[in-house]
């Protein structure tokens, strides 16, 4: 099955929510992605791993149109990201939530304002309703009592939970997580992973997660993938990928992150 997806068999793309074909991306002379093809079905959770600099974050950013690609195709929900006009690109971004490694909360807004600004200013949601929704979301991520606190007063884990709520406020059908826990202290990681698990269970959302949290990946992900030097090395159902990898490169990588 997995190999069918990688070779780009058209049959597999019929229900794919994200469809990536032969994507190449380079920064000047440095090539970051070297022919990536993959599909993500609706409701699926895909985990991307790989050594730093392997292109996993770049791939994620390309899916959201934050980076442009040099060659290939990326379609999200049937819309081509690369050829999209500003309106279509906005529609793709509206249906996609992005969670960054360094949270990127807006420092001049309180936790609640961080969550309500996009619904109010982009969707035109009335302030009263946006605030009500915002408080509900803060409750979902366990941050209800910090609604009126500014980001600089929050811990890393708390900031990331607010950032997740901010992304959820736009009711996305797809969530992209770019190493959501790697900037966090070990004890804060679990609180964030817990929230991501909960989001997955409650919304049954399509997710692409760049992470090295093996326990989390095994319990949430349907599939896992190793990227190295801008190429897909191995792709398998999550459990098989982490417990019984086929490739020597994957085994080496998993040993390295377990010993870490």
């Amino acid at each position: 099955m997995a190999t069918d997806l990688m070779t780009g068999a058209p049959a597999a793309s019929a229900q794919a929510f994200i469809r990536i074909r032969d994507v190449h991306k380079s920064y000047g002379a440095v090539s970051v992605l070297n022919g990536i093809s993959l599909d993500v079905a609706q409701g699926e959770v895909l985990v991307l791993c790989g050594p730093s600099g392997c292109g996993k974050s770049t791939l994620l950013r390309c899916i959201n149109g934050l980076e442009t690609i040099n060659r290939g195709d990326i379609c999200v929900g049937g819309r081509n990201v690369e050829t999209a006009n500003p309106d279509t690109l906005q529609r793709i971004r509206l249906s996609t939530g992005f969670v960054f490694q360094n949270f990127n909360l807006f420092p001049h807004m309180t936790a609640l304002e961080n969550i309500t600004i996009a619904p109010m200013k982009i969707l035109g949601t009335p302030p009263r309703i946006a605030t009500e929704q915002g408080r509900k979301l803060l409750e979902q991520v366990g941050m209800a009592e910090k609604a009126n606190v500014y980001p600089f007063q929050l811990s890393g884990g708390q900031r990331q939970r607010v950032a997740i709520a901010r992304a959820l406020a736009m009711n996305p059908t797809l969530m992209l997580f770019d190493e959501p826990t790697s900037a966090l202290d070990p004890e804060m990681r679990e609180e964030v992973l817990q929230v991501i698990r909960k989001v997955h269970q409650e919304h049954n959302m399509t997710m692409v997660v760049v992470t090295h949290e093996i326990g989390f990946a095994k319990s949430v992900a349907s599939r896992a993938m190793l990227l190295d030097a801008g190429q897909i090395v191995e792709e398998a159902p999550a459990r098989a990928f982490f417990e019984n990898p086929a490739e020597e490169r994957t085994r080496r990588f998993l040993r390295a992150i377990i010993n870490d």
């Binding site: 906005q90 971004r93 807006f106 001049h108 500014y150 600089f152 992304a167």
Partner: protein, 222 residues
């Protein structure tokens, strides 16, 4: 030094001299407002994707920050009416000259503030669906405003100080009145010292006001 100070003249004519502050303020205050608004617009233009807007901003800034204020003022008040047939009162000419000069300085201050906002803020906003204009309006400009406040205060102070050159086209502010009184009473030291004290008080008070504005910032950058 065999000059005998007679500050007594100030008790009689001090109020008239200080009355010039009213004109100084009503020349500088509109200039400060226009300077700030135009500065923000020029800074936003300088970061546009359209080369025409970027180019217009560069030309404006380079022209008005290199033109000496006195030359600009005289040109607007005396030369432009000959060329265009449009003439302004001394106060309006002064406001135009001070605003054009101030806007060029304010643009550079705002641009510095905008460029200091990390690109990740723009990316976070774009990922939520913000357009380029809305990113500027709601995310980068509000953050840049507070980052720019200290240097914006300097720009405003420069604008207020420049009011003194309007003496050349007879705006009846403090310097003009000091000159007027000096000619009449031959007491230059008293009147010009009085003018100095009045300007220092005005600008010092303004700087204090701006420092209070800086304290309104409840958040910190992270």
């Amino acid at each position: 030094m065999n000059y005998t100070f007679q500050f007594g003249v100030l008790t009689e004519y001090g109020p008239y001299l200080a009355g010039g502050l009213w004109h100084a303020w009503w020349t500088s205050f509109p200039s400060i407002i226009i300077t700030t608004i135009l500065g923000v617009v020029l800074a936003a233009m300088s970061m546009s994707r359209r080369w025409l807007l970027r180019g217009a901003s560069v030309v404006f800034v380079d022209l008005f920050r290199t033109l000496p204020v006195v030359v600009l003022l005289i040109w607007i008040h005396y030369v432009m009416p000959i060329l265009t047939g449009v003439s302004f009162s001394p106060t309006v000419s002064s406001i135009i000259a001070l605003s054009l000069n101030g806007a060029a300085l304010a643009c550079e201050a705002f641009r510095g503030g905008l460029e200091a906002i990390p690109a990740t803020q723009t990316q976070a906003a774009q990922s939520l669906g913000f357009s380029r204009w809305k990113v500027m309006r709601y995310i980068t400009l509000p953050q840049a405003f507070f980052a720019t406040l200290p240097s914006l205060t300097n720009v405003h102070i420069t604008v207020i100080k420049n009011v003194t050159v309007t003496v050349l086209i007879a705006v009846p502010e403090v310097m003009f009145r000091a000159q007027e009184l000096t000619v009449q009473f031959f007491r230059p030291l008293e009147f010009y010292t009085g003018a100095a004290v009045l300007y220092v008080a005005l600008i010092w008070g303004y700087a204090l006001l701006m420092r209070m504005l800086e304290r309104l910032q409840k958040w910190q950058p992270i």
